[in-house]
């Protein structure tokens, strides 16, 4: 049994909040750079190069990449040989969010109630997805999510008879409806199968997979490649102002499902697809 102190969790969460909001992972940077080279529209090219400049300014001048520093979404993989000591794991994560968003000059975008809407002023609570896994480590992944793109995300409860064509139509529908609202070029996370909530969670998790990596399932890899091509043929383009780069990647995860259903979750993320991980 390995002991992990809650103070270590809080410290790690604080650092992750700041790290994720001031710089993108190398795969995202490489994808933007490549897009700036291949984009067909002159205005689109200009926007993509501005986005690269934005990343540079964010890093050098310590300004968050985007003012919407998101709701703090966490994927927590807790090894079953780990004992968390000194307090509650959930409280420790939220304390880390509180410190990260305050000390890191990040925007506080969370309201305490969806109808009464009073700002909690420290960006808590986080949205935390736990899974218990074998081993003696604790992996924390943050994916701060802005709501320009979150608002354009969808769940489709398709019929088994809709098949793969139904899935493709669902993805295209979500992307076209999102258009300029979701700050293209987007990263499109897709979850197929499971239940109503499982497909949405898979779609969110798919966004944390590095851009450029593909599913190991052959038909899923084909789907990812075909959908990226077709999304980029919509013409929406960078900023929605026309062009050949509407998405940087389509990441798909699948899960077994019920004989009666074909759930599809489409979680759209903007080009500021932030995620960072730490293992304790």
């Amino acid at each position: 049994m390995k002991e992990i102190e809650v103070t270590a969790v809080t410290e790690a969460v604080r650092d992750l909040c700041i790290e994720a909001n001031y710089g993108l992972s190398s795969d995202m940077k490489a994808a933007l750079e490549k897009a700036a080279e291949t984009e067909e529209s002159a205005l689109g090219k200009q926007i993509l190069s501005k986005l690269e400049e934005n990343l540079k300014i964010a890093k050098e001048d310590t300004i968050p990449i985007c003012q919407d520093t998101g709701m703090a979404v966490f994927f927590v993989e807790l090894g079953q040989e780990v004992h968390i000591s000194g307090g509650s794991l959930e409280d420790a994560i939220n304390e880390g969010v509180r410190r990260g968003y305050t000390e890191g000059f990040l925007r506080k975008s969370v309201v305490s109630d969806p109808i009464e809407r009073v700002n909690t002023k420290d960006n808590t609570p986080a949205v935390i997805h736990y899974s218990v896994v074998p081993g003696d480590s604790l992996k924390l992944t943050i994916a701060p999510k802005g709501f320009g793109s979150e608002n354009m995300s969808r769940v489709f409860m398709l019929k088994p008879a809709d098949g793969i064509e139904g899935v493709k139509n669902a993805i295209l529908t979500a992307v076209k409806d999102a258009g300029p609202n979701a700050c293209p070029p987007m990263v499109v996370g897709v979850g197929i199968g499971g239940t109503f909530e499982k497909c949405a969670l898979l779609a969110k998790k798919a966004l944390t997979r590095p851009v450029g990596e593909h599913s190991e399932i052959p038909y899923v890899k084909d789907l990812e490649e075909e959908m990226l091509r077709r999304i980029n043929a919509t013409g929406i383009g960078p900023g929605g102002l026309g062009g050949s780069t509407t998405a940087l990647a389509v990441n798909v995860l699948t899960y077994p499902t019920h004989i009666a259903g074909l759930p599809v979750g489409v979680n759209i993320c903007c080009h500021v697809n932030r995620h960072a991980s730490r293992v304790l």
């Binding site: 529209s41 934005n54 300004i63 968050p64 990449i65 003012q67 925007r107 919509t234 013409g235 929605g240």
Partner: protein
């Protein structure tokens, strides 16, 4: 076409803007997003006066991240404009000259833009660090309790935007997408 424009601008200048123009704004704009719009609408419903005159002014749909010491503002890019659609036609009819945001607008907003000879600009979404460099001063002038959603008076210098909906109702999102559509 690249245009350099002082803000607030005249009616004639607004009418001369065309969808697709790149415009660099210098002068004063006011921020307001969801909560500030809701409160302005409630004020108008109650027969009250708005904390800022809309006449000839431009609203930027933006809620910044906190400023570090010695800086006017934090990250400061546009938020999705359609969430303000419900409130916008009324504000345009009261004299609002323009809006800066990102994303689609409703038919009602587009009609109100044409009716009033105003303009909808888009700034680059997700480029808040870059855009903050074009803001030289920021002051909360109303609704301080709303935090990031307070109304701020911003001084901007060559703030880069693109005309998306012009006073004729031309919509760049629709025309530009068609140009690159290969379906």
């Amino acid at each position: 076409m690249d245009r350099y424009l002082n803000v607030p601008f005249t009616k004639e200048e607004a009418l001369s803007l065309k969808a697709g123009d790149m415009v660099y704004l210098t002068g004063t704009v006011y921020t307001a997003r969801d909560a500030a719009h809701k409160r302005m609408a409630e004020t108008l419903d109650a027969g009250g006066e708005l904390p800022v005159s809309l006449q000839g002014n431009v609203i930027y749909y933006m809620g910044p991240s906190p400023a570090r010491e010695g800086r006017p503002i934090g990250s400061a890019g546009p938020t999705t404009a359609s969430r303000m659609d419900k409130y916008t036609p009324r504000l345009l009819d009261l004299g609002l000259a323009g809006m800066i945001g990102k994303g689609k607008r409703s038919r009602e907003v587009s009609d109100a833009i044409v009716r009033n000879g105003s303009v909808y600009f888009a700034a680059i979404g997700g480029a808040g660090a870059l855009l903050s460099k074009a803001i030289t001063d920021s002051e909360v002038i109303a609704y301080d309790d709303l935090g990031t959603e307070a109304i701020r008076k911003l001084t901007v210098k060559d703030f880069p935007v693109t005309v998306v909906i012009d006073s004729r109702g031309e919509n760049l999102y629709e025309t530009a997408t068609l140009q690159y559509c290969k379906e």
